[in-house]
Symmetry: C2
Subunit: 81 residues, 2 copies
């Protein structure tokens, strides 16, 4: 079982790294880029575990370790890969 987790900064939280990347893109000639925000992407492989349980466990892991719930949002999807 595979979980794909997407972590993004909450709306309103400044993203200086994204700003730096936008400036770099602009200086390379990509002036059509309005905004860029950086986040994290994680792939978690599970052993034998039921889907419902995996769902709960992933949520817990995200709250406790994988994300910072104060400034970050997360979404995930679970597949049978």
């Amino acid at each position: 079982m595979l979980a794909k987790i997407y972590v993004t900064l909450k709306k309103g939280v400044l993203d200086p790294q994204g700003k730096a990347v936008r400036h770099s893109l602009e200086s390379l000639g990509y002036k059509e880029v309005r905004d860029i925000r950086l986040g994290k992407y994680m792939e978690v492989k599970f052993g034998d575990i039921e889907r419902d349980k995996a769902d709960t466990r992933i949520r817990e892991m995200c709250e406790k370790l994988l994300t910072n719930p104060v400034i970050e949002d997360y979404q995930f999807e679970i597949s049978d890969e």
Copy 2:
């Protein structure tokens, strides 16, 4: 127009950061986690630009700046948001 870009390490490339996270998860009691690999997630907002052109431009940006094509793979999807 919004592009969502997912960057992952190529298969076979070691991921020490992911390994560290797996150990942390294990010590928190999440022993069902077999493997975890970390990547990057980016959201790029575009100004007025055709979809085909956006596609080409994103590919270029990924090759030139946003990813390291030697050790990383990327995928992206473009939406009208």
